[in-house]
Amino acid sequence: MTDELVDIKGRAQAPRRSRLGEFFSSDFFYMFRRSPVAIISFAVVALLVLAALLAPLIAPYDPFNPASLNLMNGFTPPSTPNAFTGDTFLLGTDDQGRDVFSTILYGMRISLFVGFAAVLFAMVLGVLLGLIAGYVGGWIETLIMRIADIQLTFPSILVAMLIFGVAKGFTPVEYRDQMAIWVLIVAIGLSDWVQFARVVRGATLVEKNKEYVQAAKMIGRTGPAIMLKHILPNVLSPVLVIATISLALAIIAEATLSFLGVGAPPTQPSLGTLIRIGQGFLFSGEWWILLFPAATLLALALSVNLLGDWLRDALNPRLR
């Protein structure tokens, strides 16, 4: 305890360094450097995210431009010239002659986009509801937390499926494929807000009785201003940890839903959709259509998960 105080004081008195310099000399960065698991998983995540962002530049083909497709190129094995056309593909092609490497790059874009967007959605929703529940209290709190409890009784993937099904019911048939990605984001986001709300509510209940909140009230700050400007910054650290872990879960959830055929449509395939397509060729010997997307998803899910685990321990050992 005393050690910590000294530490904080010491740091406050140290000459001001740039933000970046402060980061590199922080305990956090030191712990990161000391953990090979963290370094490797961070490198993998960074590489995959970069590849997804730059997909249009890296991908040798545009797999969704029908003009560039040649059905004759179908089922070309990896790095082997096609028997009819002589074209070579790094990771082979699928049944329609699409380059597997390119579809993976674009598929990862969709997987990551849905993952990030869904977590962002869940985070904003959960944090707001948690703040309101904790700060306002009363029947509003009871209502929000009851809903959270009931939702928590069910696995979030089931909730996401239901929401997806219902939302699909509301969408006119001709827009269903177009809207699928957005519906997916909402479904996964809505299935995942509870964790955020619970943690933020708990933290808010503690923070709201502290002197600084009382002081803010005294000088006439309004409820929303106190919640957003005073309480929110103080509950942010656990929120970030949950967000990282949620990201891994969201990516897996998206892949699962798409694999089950209730997620990203074949016209906009994510990694899960690609695996669903590839599974059909498992017995016929075209292993590459399944293997490469599966391996990519595995690398992505595993490294985000390990990174999240490490982050949780590094930022807040008590959250374990």
């Binding site: 993937i157 599974q279 998803l297 998960n305």
Partner: protein
């Protein structure tokens, strides 16, 4: 204790009412049931007749009440896609899912507890550390990938086990079972492992951490100080205390198994309720979705209730003063 049980039952009913409301709202507002049931050739008279017949002209609470009444009697309407009563379809499919879930649950609990206790007792051993590392990877993997991997190894490469379906089933009354034929049992192996693996790792990790916690307690030291054998200390004194908190989570995991069966059933084309549900979601077959939601809620709520009651059976402290 009676008050506690009654309160729990009351809470459970409340949850079911809310879920019923959600299910009913899906029924009522997602798409127009009349649209769905009548073909393109329809007159206003047909529509009005069907509306009256379905009770859609009555006020909302009345409709909700009638829906609940029907649901309690097992009447969930007619599937849009198959045109048959949902209750019949589900009854046909339920044995497949329940048998799969039972075998997976058994697998997850036995292996989870055994490995959890093992890794706790040998917490610095090589084998225990290897198991813990593997389990971390296991938790990160999507279930369907595990299923595909198992199919690839045991069906495609080794050609030892079937990759889809239930094999031969025998009808016992209205229940069709895969337990009585060799192909039925063989067909159960891969799906059960796929479905149970995730829950198994969760249970294992939980048992391990609880057991380590218990082994630090004074009464374990005292048991050692009395010269009891390690086996008695670990298996009579520590395990019982470990299992009390494990029961809750394990119970809830069993509920999840039935829900996660959706994924496994899709991978293995297992003709159960989960596959039925996923097809219903794909085709927006609302009555089937609503019925599935209701059924699975009843199951979850029942499991929660049983878990609470089990506490009383195991922990004598609760039995006497009845405090929660």
């Amino acid at each position: 204790m009676l008050a506690f049980v009654l309160r729990r039952v009351f809470q459970s009913l409340l949850v079911l009412l809310v879920v019923g409301l959600v299910a009913f709202s899906m029924f009522r507002f997602v798409g127009d049931p009349v649209d769905n049931m009548l073909g393109q050739e329809r007159t206003q008279a047909d529509i009005d007749r069907l509306r009256t017949q379905l009770g859609l002209d009555q006020p909302f609470p009345v409709q909700y009440f009638k829906f609940l009444q029907g649901a309690v009697q097992g009447n969930f309407g007619v599937s849009y896609r198959q045109g048959r009563p949902v209750a019949d379809i589900i009854a046909e499919r339920a044995p497949a899912t329940l048998e799969l879930a039972a075998v997976s649950g058994l697998f997850a609990i036995t292996l989870g507890i055994i490995l959890g206790v093992f890794t706790a007792i040998r917490r610095n051993g090589v084998a225990a550390n290897a198991i813990m590392t593997l389990s971390l990877i296991g938790v990160s993997l999507p279930t369907f990938l595990i299923g595909i991997l198992l199919i690839y190894v045991f069906s495609v490469e080794l050609d030892m086990l079937p990759s889809f379906g239930r094999g031969d089933v025998v009808d016992v009354g209205w229940w069709s079972t895969g337990f009585l034929t060799k192909s039925g049992l063989m067909a159960l192996i891969l799906p059960s492992i796929t479905l149970g693996l995730y829950q198994m790792t969760l249970i294992m990790r939980l048992v391990r951490s609880e057991m380590l916690e218990v082994l630090r307690q004074d009464y374990i030291r005292f048991a050692r100080a009395r010269g009891l054998r390690e086996r008695a200390v670990n298996f009579r004194h520590a395990i019982k205390n470990t299992l009390v908190p494990v029961i809750t989570v394990t119970g809830l995991q069993l509920g999840s198994i039935i829900a996660f069966a959706i994924i496994t059933e899709t991978v293995f084309q297992w003709p159960g309720v989960g596959l039925l549900f996923i097809n219903a979601v794909q085709f927006v077959d609302i009555p089937v979705m609503a019925a599935y939601l209701m059924l699975i809620s009843v199951m979850f709520v029942a499991i929660n209730l049983i878990v609470d009651l089990l506490y009383f059976a195991i922990d004598p402290r609760l039995r006497v003063d009845g405090r929660h």
